[in-house]
């Protein structure tokens, strides 16, 4: 029982850690798609931000400058996307894919030219990296049964970004549903003609949404390279931008359900990591291959059986052209 409880706590702990970039990227996608811009470049923005953050952190030895660089680079990429498919009404999927491919090659190439370490950045340490926060009294209460481990492992001892990601969810819900900006954002994704008639610039709304997307992806990418890991590695985002996109659809473009979808993906990943080679009473040791297929199998089952119809914002993916 004791051991089982410890395992649950550790899995919850890992779920939070793994879900952080997913939540940030999924919320980033939420702003873009709610404004009517499909953004499959979340992956590229995460990776680009990871690269920029690690590079600047490695050179300046400042994690905060790294964060600033990560955000700046991701916003710049988002602006390329906006310029191509808001200003010039280009195809949003093509533009997004172009950004993904661009970043996948650009990062390692620049890293190779600058650092000569095979497309990686040097390892970042100390002040060039964000370290976990230990909350007051965490050590003291760690030995208290039940509450102690929960406080010590799950609530305390995470990276700043983990808290930021979780706090971004209510913030996003508030912005989307309770503010004037949010109302216009949703309107521009559902019925841009109406927004235009009301005298609000559709293009400017979409630009603003993509700036927010860039900022959130920038934070997520920075977490990947200088908080979770210690340096940039080739293709280190490993498809998390796409998983975030799936979580967004899974959560039907709403902040809270999207967060839970991210948790679910992260949870299956954490379980997968921990179930390997563990002797489960009554079942025995489960083959590795089965465990590794589990997250994907679970995703398919949940998507097919429980989520129901996912309806995208109506104007999503359609460039807005006045006076057709």
């Amino acid at each position: 029982m004791e051991e089982f409880f410890t395992m649950i706590v550790l899995i919850a702990d890992a779920t939070l850690r793994v879900s952080t970039p997913l939540i940030l990227a999924a919320l980033a996608g939420l702003y873009a798609e709610r404004s009517g811009v499909v953004d499959i470049a979340l992956e590229g923005k995460l990776l680009g931000a990871a690269f920029a953050a690690a590079t600047v952190a490695a050179v300046t030895h400042s994690a905060w400058l790294g964060l600033a660089a990560g955000i700046t680079f991701a916003v710049a990429l988002a602006m390329i996307h906006a310029y191509a498919c808001v200003t010039h009404k280009g195809d949003q999927v093509v533009s997004g894919m172009a950004i993904n491919i661009l970043v996948a090659g650009l990062g390692p190439t620049l890293a190779l030219a600058w650092f000569r370490q095979g497309g990686q950045t040097p390892r970042v340490e100390g002040g060039a990296r964000f370290h976990p926060w230990s909350w007051p009294g965490a050590e003291a209460v760690a030995d208290i049964p039940v509450i102690g481990p929960i406080y010590f492992e799950i609530i305390s001892g995470h990276n700043m970004f983990v808290y930021i990601a979780v706090l971004c969810v209510p913030l996003t819900a508030w912005v989307i549903y309770k503010t004037r900006f949010g109302l216009r954002l949703r309107a521009v994704g559902e019925s841009p003609e109406a927004v235009d008639t009301a005298g609000i610039s559709v293009d400017w709304m979409r630009y603003q949404a993509l700036i927010v997307t860039g900022i959130l992806c920038g934070i997520g990418g920075t977490y990947l390279s200088i908080a979770q890991n210690a340096g940039f590695l080739r293709n280190m985002s490993a498809g998390q931008g796409f998983i975030a996109l799936a979580a967004l659809i899974f959560g039907k473009w709403r902040p809270w359900p999207t967060m839970f979808a991210c948790f679910l993906f992260a949870f299956t990943d954490a379980v997968q990591t921990r179930l390997q080679g563990v002797d489960i009473p009554g079942i025995g040791i489960i083959p590795v291959q089965f465990i590794q297929a589990l997250p994907f199998a679970l995703t398919v089952i949940l998507l097919a059986g429980f989520v129901g119809k996912a309806v995208a914002p109506r104007a999503s993916g359609i460039p807005y052209i006045k006076e057709r």
Partner: protein, 328 residues
């Protein structure tokens, strides 16, 4: 004076001409695998060997870093076609490609690390990883305070299982009650370069009570070692001597002298002493071992060193027999 300078110049140009003639005559090539030549581990060991050859002989080599599985055969064939005298393939995954290309170019020499290709122009170099892993397994069990040690593998293949089996045998040799956790990163080549996953696996093992983790996972290991630093635990490196990465938390490294194998293959081919066939390198041949240097000196007590060294001698003499992974 002018004459002296001229003759000096002539000598220099002659020397240049000779060395470039040499370089033109002999052209070695190496094809790294998915981890990349800066994985700080397996591929980097091969890279170090190739670099040493270049330094000593002055002959440049050609290289290619495979980034997707489809490139292996193309890269190897390209090298052979462009007139390489010897092509060294790094890693078991290149065996099918080497086999195919070696048949097409019977006059070119090939070498493959970690796999056996039975052809008259291929040298197959395999290591007895289990013997080296046995020694670091002993180190892990001797250094562990909790009696629990961990292993993080890269791709789930018999080769990596062999590392794990030797490691567990070594740990049990020291402490029969020791608990050994084993995790594999994945079942695809991407598992060689996934430090984030490596760190997660390491954290999960630390969470279950392990305090020493051995990573045999190429670039993924970097994440494992970082997790050990972050968690204040110990880690064991693999293939290259990785003690320098994090002095103070790297207990030791299992050395697999891929560098020597690559260097020797180049040298033999250059001196026309290339031999095909299987080379099986274990503790006795100096092909595998454990690393003790200034970076981990403070972590290894004299008593530990004495026990591990004794075991090393016993393996050489045949007193200890390490079984390794026997497949299934």
């Amino acid at each position: 004076m002018k004459r002296l300078m001229l003759s000096g110049l002539a000598a220099v140009s002659l020397a240049v001409a000779v060395s470039s003639a040499n370089a033109a005559d002999f052209s070695p090539a190496i094809v790294f695998d998915m981890g990349g030549k800066f994985d700080k581990s397996f591929n980097q060991a091969a890279f170090d060997g190739a670099e040493r050859f270049k330094m000593e002989s002055g002959v440049a080599y050609r290289e290619f870093e495979v980034t997707s599985p489809t490139q292996r055969e193309q890269a190897i064939r390209r090298m052979a076609k462009d007139g390489a005298n010897i092509v060294v393939g790094i890693g078991f995954a290149q065996a099918p490609a080497i086999e195919k290309v070696a048949k097409e170019f019977p006059d070119t020499s090939f070498a493959i690390i970690d796999a056996v290709v039975d052809l008259p122009n291929v040298r197959s170099i395999v290591f007895k990883e289990h013997e080296g892993s046995f020694l670091v397994g002993m180190a892990a069990a001797l250094a562990s305070k909790t009696g629990k040690v961990g292993f993080v593998g890269g791709m789930d293949i018999p080769l990596i299982r062999n590392f794990a089996a030797g490691y567990a045998e070594g740990a049990k040799y020291v402490n029969p009650d020791v608990e050994v956790f084993q995790n594999m990163t994945g079942t695809t080549p991407a598992a060689w370069n996934d430090p984030g996953k490596g760190a997660e696996l390491a954290r999960s093992q630390f969470g279950r009570g392990a305090d020493v983790i051995y990573a045999a996972a190429g670039g993924t290991g970097v994440g494992v070692y970082q997790a050990a630093v972050d968690g204040g635990k110990l880690a064991i490196g693999v293939d290259s001597n990785q003690n320098y990465l994090h002095p103070g938390t790297m207990l030791t490294s299992m050395l697999k002298r891929v560098d020597v194998a690559v260097e020797n293959a180049f040298k033999d081919a250059k001196g026309s002493m290339f031999t095909a066939g299987i080379q099986s390198l274990g503790v006795a041949e100096g092909g595998v071992g454990w690393a003790l240097d200034e970076h981990n000196r403070s972590l290894i007590t004299p008593a530990m060193e004495a026990r591990i060294e004794q075991a090393r001698k016993d393996i050489v003499s045949g007193k200890i027999k390490v079984n390794g992974y026997k497949g299934s």
